[in-house]
Symmetry: C2
Subunit: 209 residues, 2 copies
DNA sequence: CCAAAAGTGTTGGTCTTACACCCATGC
DNA sequence: GCATGGGTGTAAGACCAACACTTTTGG
């Protein structure tokens, strides 16, 4: 039953790849980014963007690079999810894949397919693994820097997929002290709304809703 | 800015290793398992047990194998934590390491160092990343199959590092419906206590305490 | 009969939810 | 002046935390 060395001898020198699952919100719709593979056995298939880790970067950096290349976004929220590594039939092509969850604000995105992809598009997503979102403030990464409480509430309603009471929402979110009310107002079609900004764009574990 | 292919050419074919952080409870003390490295640049150092992934196993299986080899335990709780992958100075030795959190019941453990280790021992741990434990029932993996409510409460008190009210604890834990009261009693030094068992040994996300 | 752990309910405070009306602006 | 989203408080119920005495056994 001893191994380490035994398995080292039976060599396991896989490729290491990253896959990024990028979400955004557009028009109250949750969307996720897929790319269409151009060549190989999976030509024509839609898949999550991804690529091999470079020799001089960390796994996390490879994921950030992939996000930057596909969307142009540098400061989205990024979080490692899970590492998959099943053996393939052909050990020569064996790969271990590290997946990431990414949230980006829609207005910052400029989509950009790599040469290896024939297309890149947003697809509507039905929900996201929201156990995380309920306990953190990472929704800031789905919003522009300044936003109204109405917009923030919309984001939560979309993610949680249920309506929230406006008065309760405002009470709770303001009580957390994560927001600063700005002097400005958003002048739109109707009564102007106060603009707010997050005090800190740093993930914090706080039960929000 | 395009890569994928570029980085594939600059080759990245690291070793893939797993590291397991194994916790147990002995005498109300939280302990974690370390091994002493026998050879190489780190000879004499204590480290988490780990090893290279084999050519014919998944990453998860490699972690399970490592736990089985070091402790003899097959059915502990095991959960992937994080994948680390910083580039090294020497690209030839580059490794990506997938870490796992493991919980095992102390009485089932038979420690067994691999040839590559000169020693294997429990060290006292001050706390474990307990955000997880508070929301799940995975403590079952720290207990024998049958246990008293007092013993279960002890486990939670150790993990949370604070005393709990006996009446409130019993109310809450029984209300969750995860436990079955067995017919048997534990006859000890004093008044016999009812034995309980978990209905399902399957991780569930439930806020327990 | 004494020591030690097992077993059991109630109360006050806090937190959460539900709910309706007026306000400021654009058109 | 009307349509639209912005802004505000209170009351009822659910949930949580604190607390003490009786029971059963072994020695």
């Amino acid at each position: 039953m001893e191994s380490g060395r035994r398995f080292a001898d039976t060599k396991s020198h896989p490729w290491v790849a990253v896959d990024v699952v990028i979400y955004t919100l557009e028009q109250r719709k949750l969307q996720t980014l897929l790319v269409q593979v151009k060549e190989g056995a999976f030509a024509g298939r839609w898949a999550f963007p991804g690529g091999l880790m470079g020799a001089e970067e960390s796994v996390d950096e490879a994921a950030e690079r992939e996000v930057l290349e596909r969307t142009g976004v540098k400061d989205g929220y990024i979080e490692q999810l899970y590492t998959f590594g099943k053996p393939e039939r052909d050990p020569a092509t064996r790969a271990v894949s590290v997946s990431y969850l990414v949230l980006v604000p829609y207005p910052s995105v400029r989509l950009n397919p790599a040469p290896k992809y024939s297309d890149i598009r947003w697809f509507s997503a039905h929900r996201l693994p929201h156990s995380k979102l309920q306990y953190t403030n990472i929704v800031y990464s789905l919003l522009p820097r300044e936003f109204t409480l109405g917009e923030l509430q919309e984001v939560y309603e979309t993610i949680l997929n249920r309506p929230l009471d406006r008065r309760n929402f405002r009470k709770k979110i303001l009580a957390l002290g994560l927001l600063t009310q700005l002097k400005k107002k958003r002048r739109g079609t109707h009564r102007p709304a106060s603009l707010y900004a997050f005090n800190e764009k740093r993930p914090m574990v706080i039960e929000m809703l």
